[in-house]
Amino acid sequence: MNSGLVMYEEEFRLIAGICDRLTRDANAKVVFLVDKNGQLIASSGQAQNLDTTSLASLTAGNVAAMGGLAKLIGEKEFPNQFHEGEKESLHMSIVGGRVVLVVIFDAKSSLGLVRLRVKKAGEELAKVFEVLAKKQATPGAASPFAEITDDDIDNLFSE
């Protein structure tokens, strides 16, 4: 079975910091980071009015579909995507092969600026995810759920 992603406090703070900085540096409205399987990892900027769970799931679906298309034409993947709207635009970038960095921006920013800032932030994020992967692969990194009991699980469904 493939092991899932585990996020620890320390790395989460680093990731949130990178996303916050990217939001400022790129003049973005919202920045969010999504696992390729559709789980939201972090968000920054004016995300409170957005349905980030749906955004995360659709981002993953979109990246997966584009990845499928890429393979059909002999590419490994499309690491960067840009979708231009009337007012708001969306930039997606695959980081470290595993997560997707999404930037939503309007006329206050530009594609060039976003691309530039995303490149730098992407490199920083990739390093954090490398550390995370190593941490997870360390022998003895027991499943945090090893201690839950059958009763705990049953209680979840008791009502």
Binding site: M1, N2, S3, G4, L5, V6, M7, Y8, E9, F12, R13, D35, K36, N37, G38, Q39, I41, D51, T53, S54, S57, L58, G61, A64, A65, G67, G68, A142, S143, P144, F145, A146, E147, I148, D150, D152, I153, D154, N155, L156, F157
Partner: protein, 195 residues
């Protein structure tokens, strides 16, 4: 593939509803959505054609409550059932933690059921999963229709692994939550074992 977040104390798991076209996968999700407390659910997304056939997937995020201080969240997905959407089905299985196979109980759909189970087995295999090991439950849907196979026959054909199985009438909710609870429980039990 579960996502355990120590920072927000959350655990997220992905469940996929699989099965032949028109077997009731989307109807299962619609019933769950309709009957779940607004606090415990997010928006349901359906990427469907104009005739309401699933084109890519349906998505429904659910919160089940807490285990030892961790919020448990389940992301429910359906796949498009029609045979020619196979490329999309493969994508949706990525990172799956548990599978519900929704079978259409009508005798004339038996071949479609078998074809879909085999397709599930192959597509899971391509992602590195084994249908014989993954948390898996089977639902025999449309039990209210006249021309249906017996549960014994369905069991023999579709459920040789003898996983938990449920009879259902998805539009009225019969068996819908039992199926969901069973697969969620299997997923959490698997997580407890550690991956």
């Amino acid at each position: 593939m579960s996502f355990i977040n120590y920072s927000s104390r959350e655990i997220n798991c992905k469940i996929v509803y699989y099965g032949p076209g028109l077997c009731g996968k989307t109807t299962n999700l619609q019933y769950v959505y309709a009957k779940t407390n607004p606090d415990a659910k997010g928006k349901m997304i359906s990427l469907a054609t104009e005739t309401e056939r699933t084109l890519f997937f349906d998505f429904l995020p659910l919160s089940l409550g807490e285990i030892r201080g961790f919020k448990t969240r389940f992301h429910l997905y359906t796949v498009p059932g029609q045979v020619f959407y196979d490329a999309s089905r493969k994508l949706i299985l990525k990172g799956v933690d548990g599978v519900v196979f929704v079978a259409d109980s009508q005798i004339e759909r038996m071949e479609a059921n078998l074809e879909s189970v085999e397709n599930l087995r192959v597509n899971l295999g391509e992602q590195g999963y084994d249908l014989a090991k993954i948390p898996y439950v089977v639902q025999y849907n449309k039990r209210d229709l006249p021309n249906i196979a017996t549960v014994e026959e369905l069991h023999r054909l579709i459920n040789p692994r003898n996983v938990p199985e449920f009879q259902a009438v998805a539009p009225t909710g019969v068996g819908v939550f039992d199926t969901l609870k069973a697969v969620a429980k299997l997923v959490l039990t698997e997580l407890k074992k550690g991956s």
